[in-house]
């Protein structure tokens, strides 16, 4: 009797432990099985893929013969469509993506002056975005054609008064208003704030 009693405690512990492990294993496997429901796409998405697959299989049968000489690969020359002149004046059309991290863009002004484009982007320095005294900033880009033909310079407002927005441009004098209401004037000829 005493032998059984002393053995009973570890046996009970063993059985309890095994039972707990069994439960955890069953629950765990159930969750793994449940997670496999991600292998099924929603029906409408699957339908799009199925339609694509059917039409592509058909296209393979109808694919045009290729000339296997690279020098003879014919370039399709479509009728050239008329291009559109760029927007001029003040607008907030998209800024260069590469400025996104350092600069929160407000707006811009662009005009062609003496045969080259001048583009002014105005906004706030990203690093100051969450502080109470934000640094206003303008970028001035000049050039013609591809981006590689443009130069770009960055200028800070003389005082920190928040981000700046272009409100007027006359005789290459850019008037900007800061978040705090202060007005700045940037002279494009001398590339300085007045």
């Amino acid at each position: 009797m005493r032998r059984l009693r002393t053995r009973g405690v570890p046996q009970l512990l063993l059985i309890t432990t095994l039972a707990m492990m069994l439960v955890v294993s069953i629950v765990g496997f159930a969750s793994v099985i449940a997670s496999s429901d991600g292998t099924q796409l929603p029906a409408d998405k699957q339908a799009i893929l199925d339609r694509k697959a059917t039409l592509q299989a058909d296209a393979v049968k109808r694919a045009p013969t290729k000339d296997l000489d690279l020098t003879k690969v014919a370039q399709r020359v479509p009728t050239r469509l008329p291009t559109h002149p760029p927007l001029t004046g003040i607008s907030d059309i998209q800024p260069p993506p590469e400025l996104k991290q350092e600069f929160l863009y407000y707006n811009r002004w662009q005009e062609k002056v003496n045969g080259e484009w001048i583009i002014v982007y105005a906004g706030v320095q990203r690093a100051d975005e969450s502080t109470t005294t934000k640094q206003g900033v303008v970028y001035v880009a000049k050039g013609e054609g591809k981006a590689s033909n443009f130069t770009r310079q960055k200028y800070f407002t003389p005082t920190k008064a928040g981000g700046v927005r272009i409100i007027a441009v006359k005789d290459l004098q850019v008037t900007l208003i800061a978040d705090e209401g202060i007005t700045f004037v940037f002279d494009l000829a001398s590339q300085t704030f007045k």
């Binding site: 095994l18 492990m21 294993s25 694919a63």
Partner: protein
């Protein structure tokens, strides 16, 4: 019966090995159940990546050459490739009654949907012709974004127009037979700071309103301001001023909830924050939209190439110049280390990787 004292004693007496084996089996099962992911979801090597492009012109001659370059590169690999390429044409726009975009040229010239259509078809022609005997397959994603401001046409009508554009290119590919090697889908760089959820949802609704049924819409945008440790609202600075808050369901709708929407997340951040955000957005879908389930990420976008452009600043913090392999692995690990979001065996899961740069870089 097995637990009766008599039988137990007999078992104990006859062979400890029976108990030992029972314990061993349970222990093994237990360990496998508790730690399955470390073995089952070991990340494989990232896939080969393509270049995607911020388009600075829609000139068909230039796009033909770009497609030809891609086909030539694929052919040089000696095997048939399968890949995605985004041609991002920029901000949705309207000019004198014509829909189009402001592209990424320095002066952001307006480019009509007809010009874009012609350019994409030229890319397809170049790819098809220059692969020669190789039968690689490319999916071109005709991209725009959701930048609104005072000029961006982030609305139902432009979304519908973008669908019609993609569908016309699809029909052209089908008619020419190029569809054998070239597929076309649509996409948008839907950034949470570019427009309100309402405007962006309206654009997506416009895109999905017609039951055309062969065009997917990839959201290759960000999740700025979303939590990295839980499911929650995302608050970020709005392009036109102030802040904007998106709910997880707003992002779910534009990325997975709408019928043709697929997520193609930007995973730029070196600290994995964007991968964590998208993991929780997928978890939201799995938990709160069971009919849709977890998001199926078939592709990951990085911007290492764009960061190398002179004047670019991706230095952070956090750094935003993940290599394609790093970005892909970050999302793969975050998503697949959670059984509720794991998609190892779903349709084309993590099949593609692309790195965006400028067309004239």
């Amino acid at each position: 019966m097995i637990f009766s004292r008599v039988h137990w004693n007999k078992l104990m007496f006859r062979g400890i090995s029976i108990n030992f084996m029972l314990v061993l089996i349970l222990l093994t099962t237990f360990v496998i159940t508790i730690f399955p992911l470390n073995t089952a979801y070991a990340a494989p090597a990232p896939p080969r990546y393509t270049y995607s492009f911020y388009m600075e012109a829609a000139d068909p001659d230039v796009l033909f050459q770009m497609g030809c370059n891609q086909g030539t590169v694929d052919r040089a690999t000696g095997v048939n490739q399968d890949e995605l390429v985004i041609l991002d044409f920029g901000q949705p726009a309207l000019d004198v009654g014509t829909y189009g975009t402001y592209i990424f040229s320095p002066t952001n010239d307006f480019t009509s949907v007809s010009e874009i259509e012609q350019g994409v078809e030229a890319f397809a022609s170049g790819f098809y012709g220059c692969t020669l005997e190789n039968h690689s397959h490319v999916t071109i994603i005709v991209g725009t974004n959701n930048l609104k401001g005072n000029f961006g046409q982030v609305n139902f009508a432009h979304g519908d127009e973008w669908l019609q554009l993609s569908t016309r290119v699809w029909s052209w590919l089908s008619n020419t037979g190029y569809l054998a090697q070239v597929d076309v889908d649509a996409g948008s760089d839907m950034e949470l700071g570019y427009a309100t959820p309402a405007a962006t949802r309206s654009w997506v609704t416009g895109f999905t309103s017609s039951a055309v049924g062969t065009t997917r819409l990839f959201n290759y945008g960000d999740a700025a301001g979303c939590p990295t440790t839980t499911i929650g609202n995302c608050t970020t600075t709005l392009f036109s001023g102030g802040t904007v808050t998106w709910t997880p369901d707003d992002i779910w709708f534009i990325s997975w909830g709408a019928n043709s929407a697929w997520p193609f997340p930007e995973i730029y951040a070196a600290n994995s924050s964007q991968a964590k955000q998208w993991h929780y957005l997928s978890l939201n879908s799995a938990r709160n939209h069971p009919s849709r389930g977890r998001m199926n990420f078939i592709a990951v976008l990085t911007q290492n190439g764009a960061c190398s452009r002179p004047g670019a600043n991706c230095s952070g913090p956090p750094r935003l110049d993940n290599s394609p392999g790093t970005g892909w692995s970050q999302l793969y690990d975050e998503v697949n280390n959670d059984p509720a979001t794991a998609i190892v065996s779903t349709y084309q899961a993590f099949k593609y990787s692309s790195d965006i740069r400028y067309q004239y870089q």
